[in-house]
């Protein structure tokens, strides 16, 4: 439609009636916007129309010219050549003209025309020194002569300053512009101040020093009553921050944070956090600022911010004592801010002994007396009173567990606290509570090595990861033993859900951990998690020593024989803190090791020659064999028949078989033939399963099993890993 009408409109541009002309001009703007190619058609008429006297037509035509310049380079060049002088003349005439009642607004003749012409000059002069030279004088004249007591005058000055900033102006002119802005900034009228702040942001690019001079006024504006002004001022302050003024500026902002109102707090917090992070040369200062912010507005602090804080603390051993003490004090003062509670709880758990013994005090600190039970009190308070959030409470439980190892006398008390959550309706808390209770109760010997200090979270790679993924951290975190598959994969009834989200969920049982990302696709963790259940478990022992390869650590944790802890300890993940698994010394053999009984026997030759059946599992009471069948044409799928034989002379009842497989395998379990296993092999239970190996050919099949039954009225549980699947499944 635009193309069809364009010639018509062009013709109308040439009529005599100014009324029609101006409307035709504005119509052309729309046409050109729709079809930029047509710009050249209008070039000529537009340039010639600049000689008109009628203001209405002039305004419209100037608009048209501006649009043409935007639409096509050719038009821009053409107009630059032909119309600059004309424009200067127009502006001069209208600026110098005496009182004209028709166009007068607040003592200025036709400010609209002033502004439009100035804008066109800006478009023409941008990047073009020649044109800029031509307009220099008139700009100076307008800038100095225009009165600024009325809004119209200020509007013109504003446009003038914008134009000066936009073209290649002389330095004298620039100084003039900045002075005008300075005047605006101290004007009492809110509108003017708003406009000034806006302009100053653009002026930053041109002359930073001049803007810095107005820093104090701008800081005042951050505290203004008007929301729009506050927002602009805050953005400007953010741009103004550099290494020299960051400390006083941050102090001002943090002070203001206390009194600001809620909807502004979020913006302010975010800005403060990013400033502090960007300019944190001094770790101590960074920690201080972050602690203050957490105390004041922890609820608005984003997750990745406090994660980064934790990473920093773990990387700065000399500041750990200071951190934990400050956080403890902050926690005592107020526990309403969720993030503060989380960070504090983590630190108390990790560095509890530093807190109590006043280790590595800095000069500025005063010694505080905190007893072990005080520390436990604080955690208990956090658990019960302060936090409603599951994540925080889970972190408290972990911290309590760590303390029970660091402060052995409090162990009983901690156990009592932990046990209270045994019946909690939230699965996460219940699970942790039960499992921690079991650690405290029965595994005294390995507890201390389980709960040793976390290895230093790798800051560099963390920052890299964080920059790479827009989400927060990959939470592959493990503090205490990450007995991976224990929790997440085994689901009663033998039905196994392949974990949906990648790696993270394999080891991290946090149910509500928002930053558990599906997005961070770092490959390293991929490997080490996949190997978790992959065949080819390397039984590398990690006696002491730093975690060399995370792969090894995890393998070790779960590899048969050196895996001492039963009942599948969950990933007591410290939520949100990325990191590697704690070094885990192989446990003592006295711990009940149900897997002792595992002795995968050699695969028996079978009728189904391709895939011989195997004795998957054998213990003192049971034997389980697998037969395999594969369908031709579907190499990834295998159907297996498990058959269980009772090796004792007592009947086993309530027999239940469960299986877990690694991520790349899908498993379906059919109901068993019965749940009673007659004694001495007089009968057997069969159950069939079908397995799909998505990485058939690349990775072999692996499976962990759990069998539960009742014998003589008592419940028994047996677990094992099947690693002797025939190749090629």
């Amino acid at each position: 439609m635009a193309r069809d009408l364009a010639p018509e409109v062009e013709r109308l541009l040439q009529t005599r009636d100014p009324n029609t002309k101006k409307k035709a001009a504005l119509c052309s703007i729309r046409i050109v916007r729709k079809v930029p190619d047509l710009a050249e058609n209008f070039m000529g008429s537009a340039a010639s129309l600049l000689k008109e006297k009628h203001h209405g037509v002039l305004i419209s035509v100037v608009q048209l010219c501006t649009e043409l310049c935007k639409a096509s380079r050719e038009a821009l060049e053409y107009l630059r050549k032909h119309s600059v002088e004309g424009l200067v003349r127009i502006l001069r005439d209208v600026s110098n003209s005496s009182y004209a009642p028709e166009y007068d607004i607040a003592g200025i003749t036709d400010p609209f025309l002033h502004i439009r012409v100035l804008r066109l000059m800006r478009t023409l002069g941008q990047g073009d020194a020649d044109c800029s030279e031509h307009v220099n004088d008139i700009l100076a004249q307008v800038a100095t002569k225009t009165e600024s007591n009325k809004n119209a005058g200020n509007a013109i000055l504003y446009e003038c300053v914008e134009t000066i900033m936009g073209i290649e102006a002389t330095s004298g002119l620039r100084v003039l512009a900045i002075n005008i802005l300075g005047r605006f900034l101290s004007n009492r009228d809110n509108n003017i101040r708003y406009v000034a702040l806006n302009m100053l942001m653009k002026a930053m690019a041109v002359d930073t020093l001049a803007v810095q001079r107005h820093r104090v006024t701008i800081l005042e504006c951050v505290k203004d009553a008007d929301v729009s002004i506050r927002k602009r001022a805050l953005e400007l302050v953010y741009l103004l921050v550099n290494d020299t003024n960051v400390k006083p500026l941050t102090k001002e902002l943090v002070d203001y944070l206390e009194v600001s109102d809620d909807d502004f707090k979020e913006d302010l917090t975010a800005k403060i956090c990013s400033i502090v992070e960007k300019f944190s040369q001094d770790k101590l200062w960074y920690l201080d600022q972050m602690f203050k912010v957490l105390t004041l507005t922890g609820n608005f602090v984003k997750d990745d911010v406090w994660h980064a804080l934790i990473v920093l603390i773990s990387n700065a051993p000399e500041l750990q004592g200071y951190s934990v003490r400050s956080l403890y004090k902050a926690l005592q003062a107020s526990g309403t801010q969720e993030s503060l509670v989380r960070v504090a709880v983590w630190c108390i758990g990790e560095y509890g002994e530093m807190l109590v013994n006043n280790i590595s005090m800095l000069d500025v600190e005063e010694p505080i007396t905190v007893t072990e039970s005080d520390a436990v009190d604080a955690l208990e308070l956090a658990l019960k009173r302060y936090s409603v959030d599951v994540t925080t409470r889970a972190m408290c439980l972990v911290a309590l567990l760590k303390l029970s190892s660091r402060f052995p006398q409090t162990s009983k008390r901690i156990q009592a606290i932990v046990v209270q959550n045994k019946g909690n309706t939230v699965l996460e808390l219940q699970q942790r509570s039960i499992e921690f209770n079991s650690i405290i109760q029965r595994h005294q010997s390995i507890k201390s090595s389980l709960l040793e200090r976390m290895p230093v979270l790798d800051e560099a790679s963390y920052l890299l990861k964080r920059a790479a993924s827009s989400q927060a951290t990959v939470s592959l975190t493990k503090s205490a033993p990450s007995a991976a598959s224990g929790g997440s994969l085994k689901v009663p009834n033998g039905a196994v859900k392949p974990p949906p989200a990648p790696l993270a969920d394999l080891l991290d049982l946090s149910s509500d951990d928002a930053p558990v990302t599906t997005s961070a696709p770092s490959t390293a963790p991929n490997d080490f998690l996949q190997d978790l259940l992959g065949i080819g478990l390397i039984d590398t022992s990690t006696a002491g020593g730093a975690p060399s390869a995370s792969t090894d650590i995890l393998m070790d944790l779960l590899s048969i024989g050196s895996y001492p802890v039963q009942n599948g300890l969950p990933a007591t993940s410290n939520i949100g803190s990325p990191g590697q698994v704690t070094k885990h010394a192989p446990g003592t053999p006295q711990v009940i090791d149900l897997l002792d009984g595992l002795s995968p026997s050699t695969p028996l030759p079978d009728v189904n020659a391709a895939y011989p059946s195997i004795t998957a599992f054998q213990s003192a009471t049971l034997k389980m064999t697998f037969n395999f069948k594969k369908q031709p044409g579907k190499p990834q799928e295998t159907t297996m028949h498990a058959s269980f034989t009772n090796l004792t002379s007592v009947t086993l009842t309530n027999f239940m078989f469960q299986a877990a497989v690694p991520k790349f395998i899908q498993l379906r379990l059919d109901p068993a033939s019965s749940s009673t296993l007659p004694a001495s092999g007089n009968g057997s239970i069969t159950q069939s399963l079908s397995v799909t190996n998505n990485q058939h050919g690349q990775k072999p099949l692996a499976m962990r099993i759990r069998i539960s039954y009742k014998v003589n009225g008592e419940d028994r549980l047996e677990q094992g890993q099947i690693s002797n699947f025939p190749a090629g499944l």
Binding site: K23, G56, A152, A155, N190, A225
Partner: protein, 180 residues
């Protein structure tokens, strides 16, 4: 056609970055809409949404605050005249002070035309208010900076309307006479 509508919806609030006004709203203090003029394609649903959002934003602002609000990346310039808020939406990099002047320009012309205009005039003669607006702004651009010219044009339009009415009146007279 459906594609066009979908496209419209997708480009909701996509304007070219030029100095045009995107829409004009006149809202009373109680939140009643007296006049709306849209210079970009908006669906009906979008329009109501915009009106609702802006009413909430603007009507709750205090008297001493500045006349600009930032909304969805655009700026809305508003000014209160007696019981009416005149709002105009512009792009983020336009001259807000100038738009304030445009609003004032519009109000002064209305004042001259209606003679001491009040909200009631706009309620009962909203069609005339639209005519006036159309003589000041076309497609979001200012077209006439002289109040006298606008007044003259509107007066010319009015006289045309009168003449047409008379003519219609006289024809019906003739017919009535003829068929009596």
């Amino acid at each position: 056609w459906i594609l066009f509508q979908v496209h419209c919806h997708l480009i909701f609030l996509f304007f070219s970055a030029s100095s045009q006004i995107n829409f004009v709203l006149l809202i009373s203090r109680q939140g009643k809409v007296r006049l709306t003029k849209w210079y970009s394609p908006y669906t009906q649903k979008e329009r109501t949404k915009v009106i609702r959002e802006l009413s909430g934003l603007i009507l709750t602002r205090g008297p001493k605050l500045c006349n600009f609000v930032e909304w969805r990346g655009y700026k809305v310039v508003y000014r209160r005249y007696a019981s009416l808020y005149f709002c105009m939406c512009i792009d983020a990099d336009d001259n807000e002070l100038e738009v304030l002047e445009i609003i004032h320009h519009f109000v002064e012309i209305l004042d001259r035309y209606f003679g001491s205009v009040c909200e009631l005039d706009l309620i009962f003669n909203f069609h005339k208010a639209y005519y006036v607006l159309d003589e000041i702004l076309i497609s979001g651009e200012l077209q006439e900076s002289s109040k006298k010219n606008v007044a003259r044009l509107i007066a010319a339009q009015d006289s045309l309307v009168e003449a047409a009415k008379e003519e219609a009146g006289s024809i019906s007279n003739i017919i009535a006479q003829a068929t009596k």
